[in-house]
Symmetry: C2
């Protein structure tokens, strides 16, 4: 990824927070048939990414053991109009751009077919996502009939990705003056990316 230093996200807790906020990974692989991407919710736990795919998804059959993959996580993004920069009125030396936040986790993937690994992955994902979504009314795996749960576990494959390199990019107008950055943020209010731009000082 093209990553000028102004936009480098170096704080690992900010990297983890983006993954947690936007868990649907674009899982990029290079296969005998060329480039491929699958879209899979994953979570980071103990410095590893974990997730599962359908058994019917041939990804677990066509990748080599410990093959290098790239998981892309996408935060907010927005078009930035030059109209929003106060400096436009002075110099007109402004151009459009696009702001966004992403995390790239490069790593080695391995698949697990054993019941214990699969149960651990769906259990963790369910707990985190249900608690976030439904609080005290969280759906629990124990709500399912036992035979139905076994059938569902038989239909998936677990995986983990051991990171070899993690890149974070926060392109939030940090290369602009405070006035221009805050002007653009204001035009995008109310939104999460506006809030993120407001707290991303010039670098």
């Amino acid at each position: 990824m093209y990553l000028p230093k102004d936009f480098k996200k170096t704080d690992m807790s900010a990297v983890s927070a983006l993954i947690e906020a936007a868990p649907l990974a674009t899982l990029v692989t290079h296969t005998a048939h060329g480039l491929r991407a699958d879209h899979i919710p994953v979570m980071m736990i103990k410095d590893m990414l974990i997730g599962h795919i359908a058994l019917a998804n041939d990804l677990h059959q066509i990748l080599d053991a410990n093959q290098d993959v790239l998981a892309v996580f996408s935060g907010e993004n927005a078009y930035i109009s030059p109209n929003w920069y106060p400096s436009k009125a002075d110099t007109h030396a402004v151009v459009p751009t696009w702001n966004y936040e992403v995390v790239h986790v490069h790593g080695r993937i391995s698949f697990s077919h054993d019941r214990k690994s699969k149960l651990a992955v769906v259990g963790l994902l369910t707990k985190v996502l249900e608690t976030r979504t439904n609080g005290d009314a969280a759906w629990r795996m124990a709500d399912m009939p036992a035979d139905f749960m076994e059938e569902k576990l038989n239909g998936i494959v677990a995986f983990d990705i051991h990171p070899t390199r993690i890149l974070g990019k926060s392109k939030l107008s940090q290369n602009k003056s405070d006035a221009d950055r805050l002007g653009a943020a204001q035009a995008l209010e109310p939104s999460l990316i506006a809030a993120q731009m407001k707290t991303s000082p010039q670098t």
Copy 2:
């Protein structure tokens, strides 16, 4: 991409609409250093994707001429809780999932350094994005001082991608009963993905 037939997006106008609505492509490439992804706004015009990158972005130097790339466009996505399915109360035979819409454009990329190509790309992108954002108050390239515009054009490289294969996936609970799909949509209201789910009948 794992693409069960229930979720295949076959209508090319819906594919184009997703690209237009979510132009920030994840441009995936396979390089001598492994997998890579860059995030670049692009548009489809005359069945081709066009865009530009910074001259300082080495992507245009490290790819072969007409190299195969993959541009991923991501629409809305949302976690779907089993709590939202009316059938949960009857059978409890339900599990969480994730809904999303994506388009994958596989194709061959070629870069252009000539002023005419660069001007055409930034002109088209600016016109479409500014009109959408600012209507009658759209910023125009002619607003820039001429020497500043030349400096900016000197700092970019244009590209086009000739598609060889386009895949669209709309995972919007079309594999569920109408009641469960509409129940989940209701829980996500008001949102774009809720509206999309409501108009995606069972397959």
